[in-house]
């Protein structure tokens, strides 16, 4: 079945056409037929980009004022006799939508019904920048393709299996009840795919294993996946918690926030952007938010780039060891995301010294792995370490198939504390 996968942001729509079904999924032979995006929605010079394997990339500019016209444009290009890949829009069997926040309402992917739309809307208060454009994308796609199923896949859903002792914060309980203030975690689609695929490569049953999935990209998070269930993850109520990232601070003493509000006379907005956009690798090094440039600067002797690098890897190491402790051991660590797949330096520095818990990195294998699937631990290592490229779009397409076939993994309601 050909599936349209949509990731709708406030001013962009990213899309892929993926051909998959149960057989292809099992054989890991899903086909990505086209990848593209419409950006600068709302402006007079919106751009559409379409990339089809073995063809020259196609792009076009025009005034696109809202998501509906953006999606109509995408569909028109997909069936264009010269640049397109479909004979008609009817070839699209279903649409998979990425939705950032499913709150406590969604622990798995679902067929979108009016009730589901209401629930996603209710979660908007938790992700005011993301859920509303996700929904706009859905409404636009549904208007253009009303007769096919639309499925929502949530970034938070995979982590809904976390127990209360992992997802609650140590603040007054009534704040959790009143505002749903708790850890949700993100990158769930990626952690789910990577642990699934990693076990497939190792010929393991995910249900038997204790896994740590490390996603290091623009945002960074890791998850402890114990017997196929996420039991803890480093991002929290928002994506700000946890690891140091390109421009985000990750964990720190929360008392810094009120202190800064008073002493620097910053506004809430300023503190928020300081922590999200001026911090992390960029804020510490003053060089860049890009790990490649940090590594380059530190090899040139830049002291702050060096300390930023060490902070990044040190915190990651503590989390990896912590999650191994949380699961009573670990069988494999999977690295993914731009940094996770392409930076041997980060992988080496963050696993260094973890031999005591059975992690032995193979220097040459690690140095050689630069993006593709690869095992990078020694043959004697008790813990297997792999690079597993993530593919969130593919997971969304596969979830469409799973939902339509009624084989979405069983919904396990998380522990409820009242």
């Amino acid at each position: 079945m050909k599936i349209l996968v949509l990731n709708s942001g406030s001013s962009s729509v990213k899309f892929q056409i993926i051909e998959t079904d149960l057989e292809r999924m099992n054989a890991h032979q899903d086909l990505t037929l086209a990848v593209g995006l419409v950006e600068k929605i709302g402006l007079s010079d919106s751009r559409l980009l379409l990339e089809v394997p073995d063809r020259k990339a196609y792009q076009d500019y025009r005034e696109i004022l809202e998501h509906r016209t953006a999606i109509e444009w995408v569909l028109r290009i997909l069936v264009d006799p010269e640049h397109g890949i479909l004979d008609s829009v009817e070839e699209i069997g279903a649409v998979g939508h990425r939705v950032v926040h499913g709150g406590e309402a969604f622990a798995s992917s679902v067929l979108i019904t009016p009730e589901v739309v209401d629930n996603i809307e209710a979660c908007s208060v938790l992700a005011p920048l993301h859920n509303p454009p996700n929904l706009r994308g859905y409404h636009a796609a549904h208007a253009a393709m009303p007769d096919i199923p639309h499925i929502a896949v949530f970034d938070t859903a995979f982590h809904q299996t976390m127990p209360a002792h992992a997802f609650l914060y140590g603040i007054p309980f009534q704040l959790y009840k009143k505002h749903h203030l708790r850890k949700y975690g993100f990158h769930g689609t990626s952690h789910r795919f990577v642990t699934f695929r990693g076990c497939q490569i190792l010929d393991w049953k995910r249900e038997d294993k204790r896994l740590i999935s490390v996603h290091l990209g623009n945002g960074c998070s890791l998850a402890a996946v114990d017997h196929a269930k996420s039991i803890d993850t480093s991002m929290g109520f928002t994506p700000l918690e946890g690891l140091i990232m390109g421009t985000r601070s990750g964990d720190m003493d929360p008392a810094i926030v009120p202190w800064l509000l008073a002493m620097e006379e910053l506004t809430l907005h300023q503190v928020n952007t300081m922590l999200n956009k001026h911090s992390g690798l960029y804020g510490v090094s003053g060089v860049s938010s890009d790990m490649r440039e940090i590594i380059e600067a530190r090899s040139g002797g830049h002291a702050r780039a060096d300390v930023a690098f060490r902070m990044f890897c040190y915190r990651l190491k503590k989390y990896i060891a912590g999650y191994a402790a949380a699961m009573g051991g670990v069988d494999a660590v999977f690295f993914t995301g731009g940094i996770g797949q392409r930076s041997p330096e980060v992988r080496e520095a963050s696993l260094e010294g973890l031999e005591f818990m059975g992690i032995e990195l193979h220097r040459d294998r690690n140095a050689a792995a630069s993006g593709d699937e690869a095992e990078i631990s020694t043959d004697a290592s008790h813990v297997r370490v792999l690079v597993v490229p993530t593919n969130e779009e593919k997971t969304i397409a596969r979830d469409v198939i799973r939902v339509l076939n009624g084989i979405m993994p069983e919904f396990t309601p998380p522990e409820t504390i009242t």
């Binding site: 202190w259 002493m263 506004t267 907005h269 300023q270 503190v271 952007t273 001026h278």
Partner: protein
């Protein structure tokens, strides 16, 4: 937003024009910023860059956001940009003749249903609008000082303002991140009309020797959570401007309660105009910082 807003003309690259242009551009909307000459454009451009750099230092913006904002602002010295603007706003000084002339230039070039926003605290938008082809598309806005941080704007309905234009102005105010206060045209609207008598009364209190200026401000700050006291507010606004407004309110309404306090007149006559002249009710350095020690200097945290 119920109607599409893609291009906005802002006339006047002063503090207010720049601040509003920044906000509009931040929302992804294209801005034509009109100044009178190439030299004026250049100095306004530099001032805008400086204020964006300051925002970056204060973590409110990132370098790439600054680039995006600047890329959405086109500086012009001619009114022709108004022909393809969905809304125009003038942000020039409070001068009836000047505003009337700008209005005429905009009115001639813009489709009749596109709103024109006049920013004014004292002039009559009905009177300004009356001389135009499409007076119903003219609406007022009264921004409070400082424009960048104050959350409120009074959206002023003139006698002839159409319902549709008024609604669009409300939408536009929300886009600017402000809370719109709906008011009919009447001298002082809500904010000025309530605030000026308070300031005037504070001056009477000082003049009568009931309390010192610093004590008056402290009482209002600590007692009623005023961010700055009424007398410092007057200093920062400019005592000459405060006097002008009072006189205007007094003349327009004929009410004795708006009669300017004699102490205010005396200070203005003596050239003590507040922050900008270094002295008013309090004393200031060239950067506008108070030099007299405040009795409520920040206690600090430790």
């Amino acid at each position: 937003m119920s109607w599409e807003l893609h291009r906005v003309t802002i006339v006047g690259g002063g503090m207010m024009g720049r601040s509003l242009a920044t906000k509009v551009a931040q929302e992804g909307i294209h801005v034509y910023l009109k100044e009178v000459s190439a030299e004026a454009v250049e100095s306004a451009q530099m001032a805008l860059e400086r204020s964006l750099d300051h925002s970056i230092e204060r973590f409110a913006l990132t370098g790439s956001e600054k680039k995006a904002i600047l890329s959405r602002i086109t500086w012009v010295t001619h009114f022709d940009c108004a022909t393809d603007s969905d809304l125009a706003l003038e942000a020039v000084q409070e001068d009836f003749g000047l505003k009337r002339q700008i209005l005429r230039e905009l009115d001639r070039r813009m489709p009749p249903e596109h709103p024109i926003v006049l920013t004014t605290s004292t002039l009559s938008i009905t009177e300004l609008a009356a001389q135009n082809n499409s007076p119903e598309r003219i609406v007022g806005m009264h921004f409070l000082y400082p424009v960048t941080t104050t959350r409120v704007v009074e959206v002023v309905r003139g006698q002839l303002t159409s319902e549709q234009v008024y609604e669009r102005a409300i939408d536009f105010a929300r886009l600017l991140g402000k809370i719109p206060i709906k008011v009919f045209e009447m001298p002082g609207f809500v904010t000025t009309r309530l605030l000026l008598p308070l300031i005037n009364e504070a001056m009477h209190v000082v003049m009568e020797g009931v309390a010192e200026a610093a004590e008056v401000d402290l009482a209002m700050k600590m007692g009623f959570e005023f961010r700055i006291g009424p007398l410092e507010w007057a200093d920062r606004t400019g005592l000459d401007r405060v006097l002008n407004w009072m006189q205007h309110l007094h003349q327009e309404s004929g009410e004795p309660r708006f009669r300017p306090c004699p102490l205010l007149k005396r200070l203005v006559r003596a050239g003590l105009h507040g922050t900008k002249s270094g002295r008013g009710f309090f004393e200031y350095d060239e950067n506008g910082r108070r030099t007299d020690r405040l009795p409520d200097d920040k206690p600090g945290l430790g």
